[in-house]
Symmetry: C2
Subunit: 582 residues, 2 copies
């Protein structure tokens, strides 16, 4: 036994107990005849005292050889601390050391192992094992475990069965790029790593599993935007004999359970919004509804004058910034510069100050009178004291731009409180979306999503108008989960593949096994998948997923700690029947 | 809502209740004016009745269109069953149907969906989603989930944190063959899929995680022997500040917990045996100790006569088969044929019948007298009525042969009761084993295993004699877990790599990150990993792991259901900077 107690365990009630502790040297305060050393493990920290007067001189001398992050084991007696530290769980006591063993020495770490470290992102990633010793990272990983256990126990209690689906599957042309794995035993052939266990969970429904879940790694070989990982974790779920309402009910329950257990927040029924409404009101299919600034569409009240910019626009739309009328000209100019940044891409911004006295002052006073502007204020819900920001252009672009502005302003105004939780279901997503690059429709969710039966007739005439039985769960402006009711008959699935540009032969080659399965008694089914990394980070009140992943990869998909990927032996390539093509 | 109750739920107390059920048609018994249909879902089966007299004629007609495995939804009233079936949980009732909806039709399944199916292995694998509908497979998957939950909750309660380690890591030359993944973003480089999260869990210990576990997929690109899978699941665990005893204690606790919760079996302290003792006594490092037939080494009492076969042998060793003296000459000849099979490889077998009257009759009476044979009986523990089987040859080979014979005889004698559980710790494994093919020592467990400190001096002189702090947990003759105390200092790790034939440069290139980590304060640590597939199958009282895996691969590493691996696009290869080399 290396230890009798953890470093976070001892209290005043343990005074006079003989203890053995083991851990890392966190701090050393050498006062000559007295040496205070703080020892740390996962569970906390404890102050040790080496004292010439009260212990062997040799012990004190040895304690002076210690350095930060040395791994030590000590024996000693718990004593009362003279100057107690109420901020430290073990702050009432210290341990008078009677024996010291250095279990392992340590070089000076390349950054400080403190809550606020001096280490930059790169060095922290290279020495991730040291970074994990820091409370913020350690606590995030422990938090992730806790959320995982809550999810598993909740779903298990609700009759869901966790089933492991395979990692070595088949590459499919639909969706994102696959990672592939050459097969040694099947010459010239490749496995693919799953982007999600989608078809397998559907086959489990055909197999009568009824309620399935899995917390599972998924893989996408995409160019990595900030905060995306090539491997990520999903809470993957599927249910048979359900309609959308059943799925929303059970997973609203799961989310409510997590918020209640973790945050002590009890939230009543989650609000719902259609995709169309979300796009119209927030310019975004994952709106943050912790605050207002809803969109007001101004075409009717702004396209009757001689202002060509507005008259030529497909959409004129504004938001009211609370108490924004006090912005100086300079501040407003900066805001205009902000929306003109390439990342946002607006050509300009019209603004209206809603003065406290009920008058208006706008950047387009040349074209619009007080009566016009009063109407704008009405449409955008602006009150005296607010600032109306108006953008115009083609609908999709201008919505995205104004949505970005809305989020930026909310951030500046402190309206995005990470300890406030506002979930929202967005429903009735379009089935298909037009892809400019390939000039064809793509499945917005995936090719297995069921169109709404009443919209199937539109597939041939207005494919873009067909709505799907698809839904997203949004939390604080982040999509944390998304799913759909699936197609469960061969004819509809074939129709869907046809509209996605598959020939019947291609559909059969890729997904024949699924369409075959639909002929042997497939029940109606649907499901949802949660992005576990994202969910955990939001519940943890943080923006970035990277520090909730033990060993993340950088934006080039590299693990800089182990230095992977790496070259492999020629012999190994030969066995796999491949060669490099550089 | 597709259903008000499951198909396993209704009881006599529900009589007169209006219900809606959904599920698969299991059986149809058409009596003309009366049609009995049994409906099935994950939860059970319920008998439905369509009756001309009691329901609309049309309904009866429609019920006659049903076929096996059709997916249906029915509404009806729970009524008392005339001839109750006490073997069926819902056997007291049936449902008089008032409404029938066919949710999906089904082709006739290629094999019967019954507990005992007429489908062979190949067809069941191709239509695995139908196979999963069968109770034996479905129950196995549900059982696996239950064991997983028990493991997770036990470890979590004992302060273990589940941490997800990466799947895209680096290929290493040591151990089995890796599956590799070409990197698109890092030209000419490859990730490898982990054979185990070994180095990551050690880094988590260096990172202060203290107690780690993960139920995780691992990958080995090996030629597949029966009942091996290229991807398999491991319960992977590691602890810091521990000695072997601490690890044995906690995982004995886990195993005891599983046996108690699942089997209602309470087992006291698990017995322990050294590797040497196991090899000497059972010829095997994973002995099945549910029965005796321990080895008796006969060199001393069999090499003093003129029998050249024994005199030339490195080892002469026998077992006493209970009540085997009644075997006929023919039966014994068959046994001799059995040990001569190429899979066993013995050249012959000497036997001694221990007659009930205390005399002996052997196949080597020419060389040995009654006094000699009495000594053999004493050494092998044979009683009157037993049969002594003796093999001879080089130690390792003859032990393996006699071990195979011992298991075969136990099987024939019905001594391998799947509902009896006999766990055993095997400890003090050798650190290294000589590999004939490569003519060098390999790590028996893995290169991170700590030699016993008292044996380190032997590394240079008698490497084969160095024992490791390594242990296996054996259950009923199967290794279900194995682990070791790890090296935690750079010097010993470097020494180990040196003995495994790595140059310092190779060691640094492959495992530099780990050896670096050991310089920043690595605690003593060790761990264990359980083969989850195997553990579940043994707890489930079955021999084969395949039916505890939802979608297993065949012996060529193929998923015959989805037909993977498969060829991929030239375009895809190009992006990955590789081409085929056939």
């Amino acid at each position: 036994m290396y230890r009798s107690h953890s470093c976070g365990e001892l209290r005043a009630t343990d005074i006079n107990t003989e203890v053995t502790l083991a851990g890392w040297v966190q701090r050393i305060k050498d006062l000559g005849s007295l040496n205070w050393v703080v020892i740390r493990d996962r569970y906390g920290i404890t102050q040790l005292v080496f004292d010439e007067g009260r212990s062997a001189k040799e012990l004190l001398e040895n304690s002076k050889k210690l350095g930060r992050e040395f791994v030590i084991q000590i024996k000693g007696t718990v004593i009362e601390r003279e100057s107690k530290n109420p901020n430290m769980p073990t702050g009432d006591i210290e341990v008078l050391v009677s024996g010291l063993t250095i279990l392992n020495e340590a070089q000076t770490p390349p950054f400080t192992i403190e809550d606020e470290t001096d280490g930059g992102e790169d060095i922290r990633m290279k020495y991730r094992y040291l970074d994990i010793r820091r409370n913020p990272v350690k606590n995030n990983l422990m938090f992730r475990h806790k959320v995982g256990m809550l999810v598993r126990n909740y779903l298990s209690t609700n009759d869901f069965i966790e089933v492991e689906t395979p990692y070595l599957i088949k590459s499919t042309p639909e969706g994102a790029r696959d990672f592939v794995v050459p097969s040694r035993m099947n010459e010239g052939q490749f496995y693919a790593l799953p982007q999600s266990p989608q078809t397998f969970k559907q086959l489990l429904m055909v197999g009568g599993m009824d309620k399935y879940f899995q917390i599972v790694k998924c893989f996408r070989d995409e160019d990595l935007r900030a905060d995306r990982q090539p491997e990520f974790t999903q809470i993957d779920c599927e249910m048979a004999f359900v309609e959308q309402e059943d799925i929303l009910h059970i997973f609203e329950g799961l989310t409510r359970h997590l918020l209640s257990e973790i945050k002590g927040v009890d939230i009543a029924d989650f609000p719902r919004m259609t995709y169309d409404e979300a796009m119209k009101t927030y310019g975004n299919d994952k709106p943050d509804i912790r605050f207002g600034m809803k969109f007001g569409e101004l075409n009717e009240v702004a396209q009757h004058k001689d202002f060509k910019v507005f008259n030529d626009a497909e959409l004129v739309v504004g938001i009211a910034v609370p108490n924004g009328s006090s912005y100086t000209r300079k501040e407003i100019d900066k805001l205009i510069d902000w929306v003109k940044r390439p990342q946002v891409g607006a050509l300009g911004m019209v603004y209206v100050k809603c003065n406290e006295d009920g008058t208006y002052k706008s950047s387009v006073d040349k074209f619009y009178d007080q009566e016009d502007l009063a109407k704008w204020a009405e449409v955008t819900g602006a009150n005296p004291g607010d600032l109306i920001c108006v953008l115009s252009g083609s609908t999709n672009k201008v919505r995205a731009q104004l949505s970005a502005l809305r989020m930026e302003l909310a951030e500046r105004l402190g309206l995005r409180n990470p300890e406030e939780f506002a979930p929202l279901w967005v429903v009735d997503f379009p089935l298909l979306e037009w892809d400019e690059d390939t000039e064809r429709y793509h499945a917005m969710h995936h090719p297995f999503t069921s169109p709404k039966p009443e919209d199937i007739a539109l597939l041939d005439t207005k494919p873009g108008d067909v709505r799907a039985n698809a839904y997203d769960l949004v939390l604080n402006g982040n999509e944390i989960g998304g799913g759909s009711i699936r197609i469960h008959d061969k004819a509809t699935q074939a129709l869907m593949f046809d509209h996605l540009g598959f020939t019947p032969e291609e559909a059969k080659a890729q997904f024949g096994f699924l369409m075959d399965a639909f002929e042997y008694g497939a029940p109606p089914h649907g499901g949802i998948a949660f992005g576990f990394d994202r969910l955990v980070s939001i519940l943890g009140g943080q923006e970035t997923i990277r520090d909730f992943i033990a060993f993340p990869k950088n934006n080039s998909g590299r693990d800089v700690m182990i230095d992977a990927p790496a070259i492999i032996d020629k012999e190994q390539l030969k066995e796999l029947h491949i060669k490099l093509d550089l």
